[in-house]
């Protein structure tokens, strides 16, 4: 019934709301999968450097972890942004807390992405006594 009518401008908040819905749905699948693989099927006792190196030998798992990192971090950061929006009213504190959030978010995203994309398993001696 909106076809042909003047269209309102969407804006960041609309996008953020939609992102929260979609990322939430995708994360349910990704996180449950992660939980099952890393904590149920394999336990923490058998997960070591070799395990991770072998896992990240496959581009599938690198992509899996990269998507999960981005969605989970941005989903959480946006949630925190809303909490700050609701509860931090003083202008100075708002600027400080939102800036801190942005910096922490950027650093964590950059570090995580760099590790997932550039990690190289040491060849040859994978099963040896690496930490």
């Amino acid at each position: 019934m909106y076809a042909g009518r003047e269209r309102p401008t969407g804006g960041f908040e609309l996008f953020a709301w939609f992102f929260m819905r979609i990322s939430g749905l995708v994360l349910i699948i990704l996180v449950l999968g992660h939980l099952a693989i890393m904590h149920v099927i394999h336990t923490v006792d058998e997960i070591d450097f070799d395990f991770v190196a072998r896992r990240w030998g496959s581009p599938f798992w690198r992509t899996y972890d990269l998507v999960m990192l981005w969605l989970a971090l941005l989903h959480g950061l946006n949630g925190l942004r809303m909490a700050i929006d609701d509860y931090v009213h003083r202008r100075g504190w708002r600027v400080v807390s939102l800036a801190a959030l942005a910096v922490i978010g950027f650093v964590l995203l950059a570090m995580g992405t760099q590790i997932i994309l550039t990690f190289e398993a040491p060849t040859g001696q994978m099963a040896s006594g690496l930490p």
Binding site: Y2, R7, T9, G10, L14, D86
Partner: protein, 232 residues
């Protein structure tokens, strides 16, 4: 039955802070909280101030916080609450006196969403026709009586009084989804702001508070979805 009424009172001309006043009243179990309030005003303390008009759950003037929940004093029976009964003014609005709150800001937001039919097309010879299905699309939101129970139960509104609030969105919804109306785009643009629908955190307090049983959160979600699909 005898009931203890604990009423939060405040007279800005005399009191520095609100205080609790207690009154013992004799009521029938099937009396409403409004009857108990009137008993206090008529027989115990004539200075007690509260709003009421139709006293039958339609005009929406006697919404207040009764035993910690927003309800209409004319719609809740004493026997369903027991004793004591606590009565406070709606939260988040400035108190004028006792249970009377200043609702001017509330109605300004209501007016902001243009709660009237917008259609410049020439009306047909008889009337603008609408199918039962088209009418059903917005039936739920026609039930709003503008009592303010939803908006003053909303933590997002408590956190930021500039939030347009569930009541205004409900009344926008009533026209946005009316097939005879042509003002949907205007209203959606008004609601598509940080202090518009995007302040809603889907807490559902509004649904619990509404004395008319309107599914308020669903209505807000439908407006959000309409914004999404109306193109960005």
């Amino acid at each position: 039955m005898r009931v203890l009424m604990k009423i939060k009172r405040f007279n800005p001309e005399r009191d520095r802070a609100p205080y609790w006043a207690e009154y013992e009243v004799e009521v029938e179990p099937v009396d409403r909280v409004l009857d108990a309030l009137e008993y206090v005003k008529w027989h115990l303390d004539g200075t007690l101030t509260f709003r009421r008009s139709c006293a039958h759950g339609i005009c929406g003037s006697d919404a207040m916080l009764i035993n910690g929940r927003n309800r209409l004093a004319c719609k809740v029976l004493v026997k369903d609450l027991g004793s004591p009964i606590t009565v406070e003014p709606l939260r988040g609005f400035p108190v004028v006196k006792d249970l009377v709150v200043d609702m001017e800001g509330f109605f300004a937001k209501y007016r902001a969403v243009k709660p009237y039919l917008i259609n410049d097309e020439l009306p047909p010879e008889t009337e603008r026709r609408q199918s039962p299905e088209e009418r059903a699309r917005f039936d739920d939101t026609t039930k709003c009586i503008l009592c303010g129970a939803c908006t003053t139960a909303c933590p997002s509104f408590w956190a930021n009084g500039a939030y347009i609030g569930p009541a205004a969105i409900v009344n926008a919804h009533r026209f946005i989804f009316d097939s005879r109306d042509r003002g949907a785009a205007e209203r959606l643009a008004i609601l598509n702001t940080r202090l518009g629908v995007w302040r809603c955190r889907t807490i559902f307090n509004c649904v619990e508070a509404c004395p008319r049983g309107i599914d308020v959160t669903r209505a807000i979600a439908e407006v959000k979805r309409a914004l999404l699909f109306s193109g960005t």
